[in-house]
Amino acid sequence: MDQTINFKQVTHTYQAGTPFAQNALSQVSVTIAGGSFTAIIGHTGSGKSTLVQHINALLKPTAGEIKVSGRTITPATTNKNLKQLRKHVGMVFQFPEKQLFEETVIKDIMFGPKNYGVSDEEARLDAKQAMGLVGLDGSLQDKSPFDLSGGQMRRVAIAGVLAMKPEILILDEPTAGLDPRGHKEIMDLAEKLHQQQGMTIILVTHQMDDVVDYASDVIVMDQGKVVKHGEPKDIFSDPEWVYDMHLDLPSAAEFACRLITAGVPLKTIPLTIDKLADAIVGVIQGGQSHE
């Protein structure tokens, strides 16, 4: 099925028509290509989370429409028959370990598939497969999810989403509060799902290093609008603009900028550590950087 997500003039206002009304998205038009690894960045309150919650119709637009998985979501869309859409679009919320509730790990992971009418045995197989994907040891399956460590709980929660076999996976700050190792494991998992299973990954993050390391597309949001959409190198080519958006540069780029200020003749701003190393080697070997 076509995995392209198309936003057309989408506006979302929270609590419309009251003094508490808040405009979270205004006239957003953007296309997220199927099979891409798209990062959505922007400072706090810029509408990132609101945007992604439209993709599986948890929120419906106040105006405009969204096309996803062959469905069109408009302000008039009712809550009926959204289940199928939500099976296609897996959503991992911030701190997903808060959603665990069953007595055992395996039951919790089976919960999603069973809601879609999969038989017990099949759900169990799906759950075991998902546990393998996220790197959870099989011996944990009969433990209570509340006995696990924070990092393990998060993996159980992510496995619960993956067990539904979504085609589009939305990760809303999946590594917030994890240690560096847990962080890398989760990000590598996203990369693996993207490469091996062709999943469309949408990542909401504040970590610019993850953006350049993993994403192929970047959407920058500011005050409820999409202000830029392109490849990481286009987005970070203008450091001034990035700082204006209250965002950071990837650490390699930031270091490169300091080198340039200090008089090292780098020709481009490298975004990853490897490219930075190459560029520095280039300068040393005769004043020419690669690329």
Binding site: Q15, G17, T18, P19, F20, Q53, N56, L58, N79, K83, R86, K87, V89, G90, M91, F93, Q94, P96, K98, Q99, L100, F101, F111, G112, N115, Y116, F146, G160, V161, M164
Partner: protein, 265 residues
């Protein structure tokens, strides 16, 4: 739920906003008592006029105010209908079995309608113009005399302010969990009663465990910051009695006395 006004705070800087919370609380309580003394058209007119003045001075638009109390209107209409249909006396216009409509029952029903409306209006004004924390402080001040009979006023006030502080946090968490479970294919609010009750489990269990975690973290953090008991504390927010309070009380007392004089004895 989103246009339900009762119990919400609307920031502002009006006369009503600036009054001290303890005097607003007592004033609302006093007003509700006075409402029950009203029994003819003039007394209700005086009280309605007063409430209208209060709403105007609170700076909340009346249209929005009325929209906000609309969800409660069915409850009121239902009660008023019962009153009209089941009370007896006076000139009877229509009757059928146990039901009857007479002029007294119509008048009583009308009064009851106004009475409900006035009580809802004054309490909505109170919550709209007072932050939850100020209300907790107000309750503490108002209940202070109960300390004499060893009622744990300070502990109650502390619990109240913590509870009020966590209402929006828990609401947010509920929203997130609701959305997370929806994404996993749970259908809330449809199907048979049994189905709906079992759909609540994936919502309630995480909500409770979350609340227990909050309680644990909060108590640890409080102890780490030197909290030992709620008796021996100083206060950061101090609400003083102001001229505004005196004037408001004077007006309310005057209207109260007026009501006592013009009520049908």
């Amino acid at each position: 739920m989103s246009n339900f006004l009762f119990g919400r705070y609307l920031p502002g800087s009006s006369w009503v906003h600036q009054m001290s919370p303890q005097s607003k609380l007592m004033l609302s309580f006093y007003f509700v008592v006075v409402i029950f003394f009203a029994n003819n058209i003039w007394t209700y007119a005086a009280l309605s006029g007063l409430i209208l003045l209060v709403v105007l001075m609170s700076g909340v638009s009346i249209g929005y105010f009325l929209k906000g109390i609309r969800p409660l209107i069915w409850l009121i209409v239902f009660t008023v209908l019962l009153q009209i249909l089941f009370s007896s006396g006076g000139h009877v216009y229509w009757h059928f079995g146990p039901f009857s409509i007479s002029d007294t029952s119509l008048i009583n029903g009308g009064f009851m309608f106004i009475r409900f409306l006035l009580i809802i209006m004054i309490s909505t004004v109170l919550t709209l113009t007072t932050t939850p924390l100020a209300i907790a402080d107000g309750v503490q001040t108002v209940l202070r005399p109960l300390k004499k009979v060893h009622f744990p006023v300070d502990t109650l006030a502390l619990m109240l302010s913590i509870a009020l502080r966590f209402v929006p946090t828990l609401m947010d968490e509920m929203e997130t969990i609701l959305n997370a479970q929806r994404s996993r294919g749970v259908d809330f609010g449809s199907g048979s009663l049994r189905h709906r009750i079992s759909a609540a489990v994936p919502l309630l269990v995480p909500l409770f465990t979350g609340a227990i975690n909050h309680a644990e973290n909060l108590s640890t953090a409080m102890e780490a910051r030197g909290f030992t008991d709620s008796e021996h504390r100083s206060k950061y927010r101090v609400y003083r009695w102001q001229r505004k309070d005196t004037i408001s009380w004077a007006v309310f007392l005057l209207i109260g006395i007026l009501v006592l004089f013009i009520r049908k004895s």
